[in-house]
Amino acid sequence: MIKRVTIYGDSFAEPQWNDTGENTHPTWYGRLKDRWPTTVNYGKAGSGPMYSFKQFYQDLPKLNYEDLIVFVISWPDRICWDSEAADQMRAPARSKEEAMAKKFTTDTFRDETVYGNWKYESLLYTASRIQKCKIFIWHTCMEETYIKTSLNDDNFYVHNESLEEACSNEYVEEQRRADKKESEGWTEKDRRERREAFDLGHRVNHLTEMNHEVMYKQIVGFVDGREIPKFLKNVYKGTYNKEMHGNLDLFHDEFVYD
């Protein structure tokens, strides 16, 4: 029986979503903590798997059948350097050095980065075999996975919808189209960054309350051997076509309830 829950991931798991420290609605990890009070959340906005695995490597030998690991595997090119020298190299004030560090990384560790998530998810899979713990994975982007859902069983589960998709699919369709039109010429990354910026004040962890509930149910569905629900789509009108800053009341009609 599960007694401990540990969460690793990026902004989809970050518990300190805004400055006040209080979220505007219940979150999936908050609901997990209600059920398993010992839940530990290492989620950090903007981080990548390298950051998450720094902690996971230390935790791995201690895991056993009483552990549930929830992992958001983010983009592998979100590098987390080890050395202080490297940290200094990427300081914003030294953008030239940052560029050098990035170039160095992409030159020397290109393959290790590009295929990084194949290895990370594989290690999570073998961990679920050896430690007998349960591991639940969301990928931020499904294209980065090698295993996909093919090895899913009672101890290991990869969800077949990426969080990036879930986030985008929450918007009602006309809003998605408007978003696309408005940002013509932008890359998908540009749009994502804009959505993320808008989310800071509104959607917690880029998802509406309804899908936070779905996420919670996905995890407990896996743990309890029940059905694992899909994310809801077309449930969010978006906020960015209105005045963006200030009064949240402006956005009273942002959600669509079917």
């Binding site: 695995f53 020298a85 160095f104 020397t108 393959d111 290895k119 990370y120 594989s122 290690l123 075999r129």
Partner: protein
Amino acid sequence: MIKRVTIYGDSFADPQWDNVHPTWYGLLKDEGYKVTNLGKSGSGPMYSFKHLYRNISKYNNDDLLVVIISGAPRLDVEEKDYRLAFEMFKDETIYGNWKYESLLYALSRQQCKVFAYFLSVEESYFKTSLNDDRYFCFSKGLVDVSWDEYVEEERLIHEASDDLNYRINHLSEVNHEIMYKQVTGFVDGNEIPKFLKNVYRGTYKKDEFVYD
């Protein structure tokens, strides 16, 4: 049924030695397998996996991969960049082999058979505990195997460089034969023999091999 064997690894697999006796990979070729040997002396897993990432989609049940997982700190970077690379990617390097072997294990679940040797088994996360008919990790590191070939009194006075002219891939002919039998034993579901110990006297004496 296995038709193709692809070998990844370091000097224990490198085919570019002056072969004074039959080799384990040569014997596999003689057996009729289509052998591709990507072994390269001095290389590490980062080098091997550069190739593997590109080839991975081609493997299926006709394939066997024999992978010698070398020392994780052998990064595939230019010498001048090594120190900075190691510092910047310390954890990724130190725990690198946990990930490499895990990817091989995942590959064995989905696509093909895998036989893995480590240079040092201490760098393995799950060692032999997931061995089955699709994945096999040999229980002893090849560095130890190489040293244990020496008769005991000779072990302390030798250097690996002695091998360049004498033992191919740091192993004597008898253990090349064993290595070949380990791989085919795994493929055919037969017993996997252990390496022989105390069979090599070193190179500076005329009668260098000891046959019991």
